[in-house]
Amino acid sequence: MQVDVFRKRRNNALIFFGVLALLTAGAIVVTQYDVEKGFTSLGKAFVWGAANLYPDVKSLAKLPDILAKLRDTVLISVAATSAAAVFSLALALAGSRATRIHRSFTLVARGIASFFRNMPLVAWAMVLMLAFSQSSLTGFLALFMGSFGFLTRAFMETIDEVGDSSVEALKATGAAYLHTIFQAVLPSSLPQIVSWLLFMIETNIRDATLVGFLTGTGIGFSFDVYYKAFNYHAASLVVVVTVLTVLIMETVSNTVRRMIL
């Protein structure tokens, strides 16, 4: 019996890796990918990057410009995340087990969240560009849509995890629906909700860079401009500044998290 379990586990592992190897080989054949060239050009890319992609003294002159753009990006990310959080929280409350008004709301809320979350950010940006052309609004809305989907799902799970025991107790005392939300559900789930919010802001600052390429706004646009003008030093300065910002954001949110938990 014991031996069987181990043999079964080993066989499962063998099958898993076999299938993985087969898929890899198949993909290489289908896409006619040259493995050897792939690895050698990776090396070349690193060598080129080391030679060109670093900020030099001259590029530092661009710093005030870059910082101004960075500020736009950060503000748009924060604004998009906070706005999305408000709508997400409302939808999550309507869909969570303990707080839903009707059981059918759960499926609807999950469906909406899935749709918004699974649509790639770039696709949102492209679609929105048709309506709002290249503008900050497009960037804001693209981040808003993605965050809305993700946060709804995260908030729903948070509220479900808190459970319905205290909601039930408050209901039994004659408390109104909104009382149970504000006196039981939100106080219990707030630390987790804030934690997700901070995580989303970090993610959005990173993603805003990508969206900025497309929508022609913020730090992404700066990178695009310098890169296309062959000003690799300035472009790399943009990358360094962005990475630093994300790191600072992470530190700040970790501190906040520790304070509220």
Partner: protein
Amino acid sequence: MTLLELKNVTKHYSPAVAPALADISFSVNEGEFISVIGPSGSGKTTLLRTINRMVELSGGEITFAGVSISRLRKSELRKLRSKIGMIFQHYNLVDRMSVIENVLHGRLGHKSTLAGILGSYTLAEKEQALRIIQMLGLDEYINKRCDQLSGGQKQRVGIARALVQNPKLILCDEPIASLDPSSAKIIMDYLKNISRDLGITLLVSLHQVDIALKYSDRVIGVNRGTIVFDGKPDELTRERVSEIYGFDAGDLMINLGESEGYAS
């Protein structure tokens, strides 16, 4: 005087299975301390919850303080619930909030929407909460978060939250099932005092027959959703206990004669 009356109450959770409550009728006088005993799944929780409509009945009629509860509108239902306290096996507190905040939650049934959302209570309400907290010996924990309390302390907060409602009736669903024997005794003693000194009617579901006998004025035994015993503790013989639980009382390892030890 009759406070609560159940007439032919039935509850079907689903048409496919046997009803959780089948044709239950009994009435409760003001000030009575009643224990509800019965095997697991017999319908004790369901019975208690139909009384404040946390579970909707499928048939029959419940009258509380002269009001038929089955066709109340939303605001009337809130009013009904505000007069009935409820105590839970797992306390059901908001763990991240303080003792005083949790106790004041018992006032929400009397609050306007906005006042309740903001958690703004009157001075009189706060003073009342404070008195009850002192009565239950919780003064030193008043500003402590509830997740820092022991089980017995949490249940006392649960009792305080029910008392601050000024209820006529308190429903207790296995209030001591998660507690060690000494905390359980403290809780049962508080419940007894509440019944005796404040004249509040208590309906308590219990797993321990000896405790039910010791504390209550009256015992109701349920089995498969029907009442199989309703009478004074001294009428509850070994044979009747076997009937309630569906097998020999000896197997339950309850010695009906030795329940005195619990008293002192």
